[in-house]
Amino acid sequence: MTTDHAELLSALIDREPVDPDALAVALDDPEARGALVAFARVRAELHAPVPGEREWMATRQVPGAAPPRRQLWRLAAAAVLLAAGLGAGVFAERYAARDRPPAPARVVQLDPLPVTRP
């Protein structure tokens, strides 16, 4: 195997442009083919998950970014609940007012007359 063959195959798997004729010659080289398979194995190993990756992705928020949609929905739900609570309070106040005796418009005070016994 020449270094050129394996290097060309290394560039190929990196999506770099290679000369097709040189590629044909390289693929005829069994050792270069072996190198190609080995490079693919190295790639598979490099792309395997690493310790702590899932936890980090699951818990991480982008610092300084706008709140995610879930948080916006929570805020919207809280606002709706607050509005519903206020509405219910106003309604209850008006409903209770119907059974309440009316407030006095004026007050008539009766003073006892002086009574003299015969």
């Binding site: 990196d14 080995a38 490099l46 310790p51 702590g52 980090w56 992705m57 610092p63 970014a65």
Partner: protein, 174 residues
């Protein structure tokens, strides 16, 4: 300049597209999950800060990974590199753990320029031209570095090819 809301959306999108790869890149450089967490967080903090000025002239992955490389270099200057790695791999089989350790040792044994070039290409999907721009090297040098790195890792990860079977010596050889 982008509006703040757009900036947030851009940063979140970049995080979802590149977060795992960036952290993996940094883990491979630090060998330390906690350090990789911190540095990846710093990368996306810088992404958020720089997102208003991000123009689509440059490929997004190349831009994010250039930031990641800068964060790593800054951290390296602060000498935060650690050899600790106490946490087990995610649901990894014993065979994968052994291979993973060999891979990590192989990466550690690489010269830094080869390691960075290989990881930028593999983790970030950067082209040789993008790696050359990020590292200040030439495209042929990048091609050569990545090839040498792969050959070193190949020698570490895989058993050497079997030698051709020796001819069985029979009595007629005498």
């Amino acid at each position: 300049m982008r509006p703040a809301a757009d900036t947030g959306e851009v940063a979140i999108g970049m995080f979802h597209r590149h977060g795992a790869a960036v952290r993996r890149f940094l883990y491979r450089l630090t060998r330390n999950p906690a350090a990789a967490d911190d540095l990846a967080g710093e990368v996306f903090l810088r992404v958020v800060q720089a997102a208003p000025g991000y123009e689509a002239r440059e490929r997004e992955a190349a831009w994010v990974f250039r930031i990641a490389q800068n964060v790593w270099r800054d951290a390296n200057r602060r000498r935060i590199r650690s050899v600790e790695d106490a946490r087990p791999a995610d649901a990894a089989s014993p065979a994968r753990q052994v291979e993973g350790l060999d891979l990590q040792r192989g990466l550690d044994a690489l010269p830094e320029d080869e390691r960075i070039a290989l990881l930028l290409g593999e983790m970030g999907g950067l082209s040789y031209a993008e790696i050359a721009e990020a590292t200040g090297a030439t495209v042929p040098a990048v091609r050569s570095r990545i090839y040498r790195a792969r050959q070193t890792l190949r020698a570490r990860l895989l058993p050497p090819p079997r030698a051709a079977a020796a001819p069985v010596r029979g009595s007629h050889d005498d």
